[in-house]
Symmetry: D2
Amino acid sequence: MSKIGLWLVGARGGVSTTVSVGLSALAKGLSTATGLITEHPEFANCGLPPLSDFVLGGHEIRRGSLLESARVIEADSGSLPHHLLEAVREDLDEIDQCIKPGILFNSGEAIHSLDKDSMAVTPDSPQDALRQITTDLQEFQRQHQLSGLVVVNLSSTEPPLPPNLAHESAESLRSALERNEESAFRSSTLYSLAAAAVGASFVNFTPSTAALTPATRQILQEANCAYCGSDGKTGETLVKSALAPMFAQRALKVMTWQSYNMLGDRDGEILSHPENRSSKIASKGELIHQILGEDVHSEIRIDYVPSLGDNKTAWDLIHFRGFLDHRMTMQFTWQGCDAILAAPLVIDLARLVAHAQSRGEVGLQKHCSIFFKSPLDFADHALSAQFDALIQKARNW
Amino acid sequence: MSKIGLWLVGARGGVSTTVSVGLSALAKGLSTATGLITEHPEFANCGLPPLSDFVLGGHEIRRGSLLESARVIEADSGSLPHHLLEAVREDLDEIDQCIKPGILFNSGEAIHSLDKDSMAVTPDSPQDALRQITTDLQEFQRQHQLSGLVVVNLSSTEPPLPPNLAHESAESLRSALERNEESAFRSSTLYSLAAAAVGASFVNFTPSTAALTPATRQILQEANCAYCGSDGKTGETLVKSALAPMFAQRALKVMTWQSYNMLGDRDGEILSHPENRSSKIASKGELIHQILGEDVHSEIRIDYVPSLGDNKTAWDLIHFRGFLDHRMTMQFTWQGCDAILAAPLVIDLARLVAHAQSRGEVGLQKHCSIFFKSPLDFADHALSAQFDALIQKARNW
Amino acid sequence: MSKIGLWLVGARGGVSTTVSVGLSALAKGLSTATGLITEHPEFANCGLPPLSDFVLGGHEIRRGSLLESARVIEADSGSLPHHLLEAVREDLDEIDQCIKPGILFNSGEAIHSLDKDSMAVTPDSPQDALRQITTDLQEFQRQHQLSGLVVVNLSSTEPPLPPNLAHESAESLRSALERNEESAFRSSTLYSLAAAAVGASFVNFTPSTAALTPATRQILQEANCAYCGSDGKTGETLVKSALAPMFAQRALKVMTWQSYNMLGDRDGEILSHPENRSSKIASKGELIHQILGEDVHSEIRIDYVPSLGDNKTAWDLIHFRGFLDHRMTMQFTWQGCDAILAAPLVIDLARLVAHAQSRGEVGLQKHCSIFFKSPLDFADHALSAQFDALIQKARNW
Amino acid sequence: MSKIGLWLVGARGGVSTTVSVGLSALAKGLSTATGLITEHPEFANCGLPPLSDFVLGGHEIRRGSLLESARVIEADSGSLPHHLLEAVREDLDEIDQCIKPGILFNSGEAIHSLDKDSMAVTPDSPQDALRQITTDLQEFQRQHQLSGLVVVNLSSTEPPLPPNLAHESAESLRSALERNEESAFRSSTLYSLAAAAVGASFVNFTPSTAALTPATRQILQEANCAYCGSDGKTGETLVKSALAPMFAQRALKVMTWQSYNMLGDRDGEILSHPENRSSKIASKGELIHQILGEDVHSEIRIDYVPSLGDNKTAWDLIHFRGFLDHRMTMQFTWQGCDAILAAPLVIDLARLVAHAQSRGEVGLQKHCSIFFKSPLDFADHALSAQFDALIQKARNW
């Protein structure tokens, strides 16, 4: 009975903890599959791997246990209820056995300073770092005799990678690696390279641009790995991708789209640093102009509001003109628990990329654009078009 | 140079007045075509009739002039600005010449009582009424040597038509007409029959179900008329049709969708009568259950709030479950001017049905579902699917 | 060491359960006194009874235990966290010992039908009912050697009591009691009479008008009981009482104030019955017209939305005119957990009325108006004025 | 028949234009006095100057006429309707005769750069500037034989004045003036000094801190001038001052109060400059911490959204804890037209300070705190307390 590995980078963060608790709860029949796109009937006969095929492991830089992380979430957002944690605690202990100390390499001030007390490995050189990660992944493959492996980057948002010639091609990046040219690598770069090295699929669920550059994408492709990204589309951007097309379709001229996002917990704390926030804002900002035109006045604010914890709140104001240029207004408030929204997408993606790679469909998984705020190489941000593309794929499988 | 007639039933109501001012303003280059779907580039080469081809006329039961109606709107919602009215007042006077006293026939308590002082014709029998309307339409056709004619029902919402055998087929309705069986006819029934009688296209922009029954639809079809309906999708329902699919696609389980609608002016006053309101609520209510399932707790309230005038305000609460059945919330507020949202749809529909009928494409215009809250015979309420269907049609023309 | 009894009618409902858990948690130092007005520094030297003086008991018509009720709340609104319930479970068991089967007498269709399976006592006559309640209260007094007793009505909202001559004076009500004239009594009437009979203070925390009529008020006064009511001001009405004065003070003319309330759980279910709802709406509705004038268009809707549980959501739209009669808009959304908002008010009231009665300050407690949606005999609904009146009292004590 | 001068600094800005149109419309009986606090019945017998006593004039740095400004507002926010402008245009022309070129002196980059094309006087030295303003005011006094004069600063928000020893006392500022020490003066400083020089009352309706420093206040006091400030409390801050006390009074612990403000037009454009915005944010920010405690997480954002024009939109999120530390949420949206909200306050203030000074009540007008975001020397930001203070004054007059 073959198993598929799901390797979570940031393995005790909120999303990973929710993935871990959720998979265990589903296996025990303690919860429903709400939120899983791959449970739509269209996928029923595609041969996707069943949820029970997945074995979890990962890297983490913070000390502690999955159960402790889960308890914090229970107290904070209440999204992991007490009775569920009691039921799955043994499974969590088991996953903890497969969580290794993560790598911190050129990840930016904010992340480094937050984790002074961490158990992170801080390697001497990119080569060292890559070797360490690769070794951990290979051990995981060997230990569980995995028939497939998916690496998902769920670590904190890094600052943007400054433009770097090394990232223009596989060749130039490999050469930078040989020279141990530190500035060409962030932790996320090393994770995608490690995935390629062990033949794993790779999903960049964060906005960290250093993970999927022309260079790393070429390397993943050459290694026959399936990959996709970037930045899981969980909440406010999801709503925008459903709503913005309405204005375009009905020829209503959006003049202004203001987005105010508030979030607490570690994610919010990291994003309170301007350079990390800039990665996120760039990722979130593409959509409005792509769907509604470059002349829309659109600002995205992200504020760290500790009391909210993982219960993100977003308020958007849309100011638009209709017939005879009359001005009208729409506003919405979104109150969503981030980890709860993200976790099923991670599971969906693991199933989809593992399945594709097992069929030899390697390289960029274009039909996965619906999962991302910044889908790679995909021209359409409209949610319905993205959904149609995914369902089309399911029908062809 | 052939002209197309656009006959507005309720010719001095807010929507018709805005259509009249708008077409004139566009002809004079005083405004942009914002809000017109038929101005999407996909329609550029379809051969749709240009806006300048349309000649306006209609029925109205209230006294006054179009300019007076427009002045009321100027003072109320501000959507028809002063300078525009000055520029188009002569055109409005001209249209006034083509507005005839409307028919009030079995339209329900609310409408009858509101218009005690009206100039409405209250005919003795259905046959009388039909003859009157038909004569007015024919005179309009003759006077302007029209090459096409579109009748659009924009009159106040009638109460639902009680189930009536006469409406099961063309034959049974014709026989009821011969017998002058009053209870089988409301004003809206007679308008659709008159359209059939003169070979005009027919659009039911209201939720009045008596306009398009199996019987009247068969009669329109047999007369080679294009038709569609019902109930223009202008505001809150439009948003729902864009947003509800998002929850379905992402497998988020909507538990509750509450809709609170407030509006003033005549439209609101009519809908403050429970039986008229029930038509509207039935029309607005289909969507949620069709897209999200029958088990959604969904209530629609419509309240008459005089101070709002035509600036409708709607607030919706969506309460849904995600992964691990965690509950989350979305809410939106829509503040839209109804006539401004509706007028361009009326113009779009006039172009589309006139064009279709001129090409011999008669009967139900399924691709027009995007315009309606209760599209006839159309399985999908999702906005994107509706838009795709319309664009597909444009590409095939 | 003297004890004060707090007798909760509806002793295992959401508010009472929260009061019970809360008092126990505060006694154990497991929570803060957030929400308790009587913990304002102004009360520090008033000699109010300490929280630890209170002994709990009550009537309840539903079967089960306090811990079971608490567990339902834990799962539903999450407002009673798991660890707290573990810590206080023994105290809850103890309180359960003092909960007696409640009385159901002429409480309206909705309440009777909801509790078919209840353990309610349905006495033969008003005299029987009153005797039963009085006996239970006396036993509670005796058992705990209480120096004071406060009866708080927290039972489900009854329909309004139809106008009844018996309620015009103490004499006429006593005579109706002698005649066992059933229609003159609802459960809430009997509870206030029982309070008077045993010399207890009485608080009507519900909108049930049958509790505090001219007759029962006279009887309570004659029995030297302190009393106040009606209808705890917990959420949306609280906000209105803070906000409406702003418009009056700044001479902004409110044209419309629409209030949409949604709630689930038993409270919501009862209020989904039109006659029970009418009691609530009458109670909530006084404020706007009292503060802003009779000409404000103001509607209050209360909808039963099961998925919300005790997490009430209210949305209000305020449409107002400013200088030059220009129209502007404010809207607010209130998302509050009802029991969490109500429980501290119940505790505050118990302290305040027990203290007043112990000082011989009997009859209506006018300074308690801040706690109620419909404060008896109090001219001012403005929150600040109510707060000032309470603080003034504290300073005089 | 004696006249009182109302000298508006920024005389063709939105607020001043609305004051001008409004006073004329009220004089002609074309509008109601909505929004004027001084029309509360409590002021009826105070002997406040009637509205018809005021003669308007002012300084302005932009070219154009009041009617042109009014037309822009008509087209933009619609708050000055066409028919009203027609009715008052002659009065506006007359006021235009009394509008002199304004002074720009050390007002910060943003204001200077915006008005490259302005008619502003840019004097060589503080002394020159002061002389110029004083001369204009004296001419206005002479021309209209004014019995009183009120100078209201309505010019664009300046950056904060850097700490400057010159502002610590009247003496040090006078000495800085003698030395023509430029850095000690902004335009607003010179306007308050000019008011003192001609014995006029002075109102600082902007957040510009350079207007009312210890030094200028001492000088105004010594000149027997009445004065008050700063920063008119028109919209979102007004709501906060009504709402924040509610949480304090009910012992609900506010954890977070986030405020998002959007506005367009010139005001918004100026505030899009960080240093000007910092003045505004400092002024708006005092309230929450003063009422709710220093530990509230509270951020105020102000964004320039051109399409909104003068229709300011603000959205606030309040996240608070109740009993048992349960977290709850309130949010509100305020959509108010700034000039419409501000204009009546300016008129109220003119009446109040003119009246006070005429009675010899000079110096700071503490009872006017209700009009300001940052009331000078006033301990209480709570709206009701401020209103009570004003009404108390009215009763004593």
